[in-house]
């Protein structure tokens, strides 16, 4: 070609800058056919490629989400042991009906609820307080934020092991301090409430900073003029917090409550590692065995795959119920605001 494309591109005859289109006047019958075929291909391409592009997620979901879900449902209707997972014996709904009078299940459910409350409520209150403090102008605020997030970045296993040492009955630091103050030793692992409190404290330690950061982010999005006008109206700091900060944080609080509730219903690692017997029974008398732990004990320690599957599905249903309750409450709240 004689024209110098590198200096200036010639104006395209049609269709903008896109290359590759044969000029219309050069159309022969052959080319038209070819074009039609190509355009059919392109149409198919356009129609189906998006599916191909999103398919990795769905393939993964099929393999690791849907298949286990269905397989678990199927297994829950059978008597099946981990030693022979293909050897299933039909059991109907027995694995479900027996849950009704399985005192270990209900004990675990109660523990999950109480540990959930003991851990979530103080956690969110403390997170709110921390966020409020951090919202003031402080020297080295980034440092404090990083420090707050550090527990979240620590592995549960490492943290729990340290907590086990802290809460040790005979040689634990906490009992040592209590002893100095003149309080009797507390058996943090074997007594019901102390053990639940200890497990909750691991959860609180781990998640408070995370929630505080979420609150902090939401607080910083509150327009400054709201505070100014509140101050003009004579509101003190506390009143500002109650009447400006909290209402503005309502959706954020709701979010953290939902996330914490889901987290609390699945608590597993902390009680597992807190057990002095290193078993999955959550203490000698199952005093801090959660549902997640009970599921693990049935499935992996006792190798009853069918029973464990049924427990998993009941947990799933309980979660759905919690989700519905949550959404009803949040809708009410939104309506009332």
């Amino acid at each position: 070609m004689a024209t110098r494309h590198d200096i200036a591109a010639p104006p395209a005859k049609e269709g903008g800058a896109a290359p590759g289109r044969a000029p219309a006047d050069a159309l022969s019958a052959e080319a038209a056919k070819k074009r039609a075929r190509l355009s059919r291909r392109w149409q198919r391409d356009i129609r189906w490629s998006p599916y191909a592009f999103v398919s990795p997620f769905f393939l993964l979901f099929l393999a690791f989400g849907l298949f286990p879900l269905i397989y678990t449902a199927w297994a829950s209707l059978h008597t099946v042991e981990l030693t022979a997972p293909t050897d299933m014996e039909w059991a109907g709904l027995r694995n479900y009906t027996r849950i009704f009078d399985d005192e270990f299940f209900w004990n675990a459910a109660k523990n999950t609820l109480t540990i959930g409350i003991i851990s979530t409520v103080p956690q969110l209150l403390m997170a709110m307080g921390l966020a409020h403090i951090l919202n003031y102008k402080l020297r080295g605020s980034t440092f404090y934020r990083v420090v707050m997030l550090a527990p979240y970045a620590t592995s549960i296993a490492a943290a729990s092991l340290v907590f086990v040492l802290l809460f040790g009955r005979d040689y634990g630091v906490i009992n040592w301090v209590l002893d100095m103050v003149g309080i009797d030793k507390i058996d943090w692992q074997n007594d019901k409430w102390p053990s639940q409190f200890a497990v909750s404290s691991i959860i609180i330690w781990r998640w408070t900073g995370y929630n505080a950061l979420i609150y902090l982010a939401a607080m910083q999005a509150i327009p400054q003029d709201l505070y100014e006008s509140a101050a003009l109206d004579g509101a003190n700091r506390w009143q500002q917090f109650i009447h400006v900060t909290l209402p503005s944080l309502r959706p954020t609080i709701l979010f953290t409550v939902v996330v914490s509730t889901i987290g609390a219903s699945q608590v597993f690692g902390e009680p597992l590692l807190f057990d002095a017997n290193k078993g999955a029974s959550g203490g000698s008398q199952h005093q801090f065995q959660t549902l997640g732990l009970y599921l693990y004990e049935q499935g992996w320690v006792n190798q009853h795959l069918g029973r464990a599957s049924a427990i998993a599905w009941v947990m799933f249903l309980i979660l759905i119920v919690i989700g519905i309750v949550n959404s009803v409450i949040s809708r009410r709240l939104r309506a009332s605001s």
Partner: protein, 452 residues
Amino acid sequence: MRARTLPLSRLRSSGGNPVARRALAVAAVVSLGAGLLAGCADDGNDESDTSSGDSNGKTVITLGLFGTQGFKEAGLYSEYEKLNPKIKIQETVVERNENYYPALVNHLTTNSGLQDIQAVEVGNIAEVVQTQAAKLMDLSKVSGVQSSNWLDWKWKQATTKDNQTIGLGTDIGPMAICYRKDLFEKAGLPTDREEVSKLWAGDWEKYVQAGEEYQKKAPKGTTFVDSPGGMINAILSGESEKFYDSSGKVIYKTNPAVKKAFDLTAEAAEKGLTGNQTQFQPAWDTTIANSKFATVSCPPWMLGTIMGKSKPDSYGKWDVAAAPKAGNWGGTFLTVPKSGKHTEEAAKLVAWLTAPEQQAKLFAKQGSFPSAPAAYDLPQVTGAKNKMTGDAPIGTIFAEAAKQIPTQVIGPKDQIVQQGLTDNGVILVTQGKSPKEAWDNAVKTIDNNLEK
């Protein structure tokens, strides 16, 4: 279709051959998906591919082990590799059997992800023999393997009803009583191991009586027994029937031997003769370091545990006396899955590793006590000494105990029953519950755990 609303430039397909591009996309998706799916399904093949041989044309044999078996540490792999230049040995070790065993069961049932040789703990061997024998090689036919090389009960534990021996024993844990000479002396008890053995010879009740004697003048803050769990475990391990009868029925609830062991341990706990500890937990470790108990039921490997947790000032203060009744605690078997690529070579290696000479070497280096009686007369065993026990001839003491261990009926869920009786049972007595409450709690837990 949403796709039709794409911008015009996209519709005109700006650049690239669309066919090739689509093919590429499809290929990428398919290979990604297939690769991921295959990744979970076929890892066994991948692993056996890697074990088929390395670049030097050597045959690589892989071992899947748990805990510290010590083959490598005792130099046995390099010795075998020297003897067999065509063989290369690799091991994969999982620290705790609780994590190792469920994975092994999964691998066996799906026939994938298995190593050429897999170790099985004695607590699981009955379940493996009963449910997985079809997947494992019969090792009794391998050349050089003779059942008479092993203690009779050890050989039988890994043998199926139709006489296939699917695992060869490595070590065992014959139990004696390790005791603190200094604490015994302070409490006015004899310290010579012969006399100490006589205190309770043949009867665990005498052991409790000796404990009461000890506790009268015991140094403050010390107990006679380390933990209730260790004690009930020791008593039960000397019984020929504990949780299952020979027909495979669960009998732990009605077996008088089990109830007796439970009651005796609970009695000792109620009288304050046992520490309120669970074995192998950090707090229990600390009671070793602080010399808080006078006796512990100990297989040879327990001396290693004691040494690891002790302060140097208690070296040589321990001694070993015979237990009221000899029992076994712990031990491992090596099995060869049939699906491996080098089953012949693997079986040869297993036979070599479990031969008396190698077992004796392992004992000298690692303290794993041989399951082959022929090893008991080898100098590595007869001359064995331990830092904790001074010049006590521990090899001879444990060999004597090994010969008295009864052939015990073991069942597939022994571990669950055992754990229920200790962790959900006798330990509660040390926390102020009555023996009856403890027994009821244990039974409730065990029954729920056993029910399919």
